[in-house]
Symmetry: C2
Subunit: 426 residues, 2 copies
């Protein structure tokens, strides 16, 4: 359904060198959900395909959100008056604990899934709660959207409030096994992912067992790393044997398997930790909105890029205030300018093409060949009408892209396709 | 017209201690364009007034933009790849110079005036270009909106490209006199303001003559101060006799008259300059969006607040990417967190009530009794529908305000009043 067609419009995407590729007034071919390339004129063999003409609008690869907490969506934009650990205890855990009630979860997750569907995000990697049943409800709702996602049931067996902690390590593991098997059986676009919350709330025993499940079921994993200074000190106390925070994960075996792990934040990673990220090819989910709001700091993304560590962007709702990955792109550039100004003048600020790369190919690589219109990439596309941003000037497509990144709230998203499947269209 | 009425809804504003005042489900009285106070029940003497019921919506004081460049609106969100001086030469001056053509100016300023009218801003202090006629066109368009504004014809008689510089100091002064006299004669809500661009483009002779005009016509003035490090070095070269950048203005007499000057930015002011700002009671226009985009840095607003220097917010379009003062509030908080984290841990981050204060009473003070619903303040009100930000939670009005600040793009502005005059209403 809808998997063979041609879009016409102004295509803008990144090549693997993080440069913009601009195809004005061109035809983008989708065959069996995969890009057949972008052309100025339709090649002979595609001439029977239906053409959907988007005129002067911009067509970009769908955006990828590598880190977002579904259950926190209800309090997005509220409570940015404290740092991470206090924020978890006062704002986050009280709300997440409510998801033990399935009716509550249905109501809350419906809002999240609807808004994610209507956003510019085509793919996302999502935290649920510790509750197996509610996380399955989230997956059911996401499956209906047509988006492609990974969803994790969160594991927490220590250092959490009594009202929001799993009863035992064993129960945490058993619930996770059931969650994985059910998910693998029931969903096509919504896949399970191993999700220890972070070192402070997971015993070494739990982490090792999750590493076993990761191997056994061939799953990826997601967690948090070196977000906040207080958190890092706490990990040192909890794992005095670890050489760095990242090593506390690695010693449990959970970072094994290249390109199979996502670590959110990495704001204050030591050189040693950065080497570990590189060696294990861990994806860094860069979440500048959240890192501003919770006062965590600025991740040195330029350094990570130079080391060719895989990086994508994460909205990190509700540390981040909205689901918008365009806003995350703008913030990634803006905070990189402050890092350059105040921390390290060797770290050149990010550019718009680089931010687009992170938001598309960067995070997209976690899903395979995703985030570009080059031939062979899955056909994820968003069509953007920027005509409401009025100007007397004639802008180039590069300028219009920049303006969309900085003023996305004033643009209208008029169509979205994931792997060639129409999610919505005007 | 429309100057006597009652609004019903949830009023949120700041008292002079920068604390939130929350009046749930209350009546706000407007008599002759001035607030008669907020009440839970309508006092006897106001019972004949028309009531406009906004139900569960939030009603805030109108927002004040202390620093914005009208002619730069066309390239907002474009060209944030360089610092101030290069940006002026490559992006700004080429566009501003076009405003010598009145037809061009009409077209461009119509877009600016329409969008400002439809924004949450009720009052603004605006830069035009060096062109007297075009700046008058801007004032005509603004007068039609019903907003209350100050508008300045820009003065530049040195160090600018030949295609965008005034022919002589004398012509700059004569054009300014004509501009002032015409404006004072023709407009009610749109007032002239003395506007030397900044020290680098104004000779001492020009600055001294503008100071005379300021005194003679009882006008305020606006300019730029200590925005960018390269700019500051340049001012040192140009005015070796000045004790600091601010002193280069002050020695010309243009900062005389307390509360009569606005200086945009003050990112890198020395202690001496801060003392001068305090002594002259100069308004600081804090423009965090612009200061991020042009890599200028972070103004130490907490320090200025502690010294009780008057401060408001400025969108600084097109250094800032949008006209939104809500976005400026969010950014002011976010950058203050980075200043605290990376520059000075003594500078506590700004809070939401403090940001609201800056955006309303802070900048409003430049216009008189503006920025509050306390009795005697001019009745500037904006009515905000936040129902599109869906949640399963019951939020307090304080939480809803915070969410509006961080997600203003998702809210709908449904009515706006300036000095009791209806600008628009659903």
């Amino acid at each position: 359904m809808n998997k063979n067609f041609i879009l016409k419009g102004n295509f803008v995407y990144c090549n693997e060198k993080k440069e913009l590729v601009i195809c004005e007034n061109s035809y983008g071919i989708c065959v069996d959900g995969v890009s057949g390339g972008i052309y100025k004129e339709i090649p002979e063999k595609f001439q029977n395909l239906e053409i959907i003409d988007y005129g002067n609008r911009l067509i970009l690869p769908g955006l990828v959100d590598l880190h977002v907490h579904g259950p926190q969506y209800g309090f997005r934009g509220v409570g940015f008056d404290c740092e991470l650990i206090e924020w978890l205890n006062t704002h986050t855990f009280p709300v997440e604990s409510q998801f033990g009630n399935e009716d509550y979860a249905k109501k809350a997750y419906k809002i999240f899934a609807d808004d994610l569907k209507n956003s510019a995000t085509t793919r996302a990697v999502i935290f649920g709660t510790i509750h197996e049943n509610s996380t399955r409800i989230l997956m059911e709702l996401l499956e209906e959207t047509g988006l492609k996602t990974y969803v994790g049931k969160v594991n927490m067996d220590r250092n959490a409030p009594e009202y929001y902690m799993e009863d035992s390590t064993e129960k945490s593991v058993q619930d996770t096994i059931r969650f994985i098997e059910e998910a693998q059986k029931n969903f096509k676009n919504t896949k399970p992912i191993i999700t220890p919350r972070f070192i402070p709330t997971c015993t070494d025993e739990l982490m090792k067992k999750l590493a076993e499940l990761k191997r056994k079921y061939h799953l990826p994993m997601q967690s948090h790393l070196s977000e906040n200074r207080g958190e890092i000190e706490w990990v040192k106390e909890l794992c005095p044997w670890a050489e760095c925070y990242g090593d506390a994960y690695d010693e449990c075996g959970i970072l094994e398997g290249k390109y199979s792990s996502i670590m959110a934040h990495c704001v204050s990673s030591t050189d040693e930790e950065v080497e570990l990220l590189k060696e294990r090819e861990v994806f860094v989910a860069h979440c500048p909105k959240s890192n501003l709001n919770l006062m965590s700091g600025i991740a040195p993304i330029r350094k990570y890029m130079e080391k060719e560590i895989p990086i994508g962007l994460g909205s990190d709702v509700a540390g981040g205030e909205t689901l918008s990955i365009f806003e995350e792109m703008a913030k990634a550039i803006q905070v990189s300018k402050m890092y350059w100004r105040y921390v390290d003048e060797q770290c050149r600020p990010l550019t718009v093409p680089e931010a687009l790369f992170l938001a598309t190919r960067g995070g997209g690589a976690f899903f395979g060949k995703v985030g570009s219109f080059e031939e062979g990439f899955e056909f994820d596309a968003i069509v953007i009408d920027d005509s409401q941003i009025k100007t007397q000037l004639d802008l180039t497509l590069t300028e219009r892209l920049e303006r969309i990144v900085y003023s996305s709230g004033q643009c209208k998203l008029i169509a979205k396709t994931v792997g060639g499947k129409k999610i919505f269209a005007d």
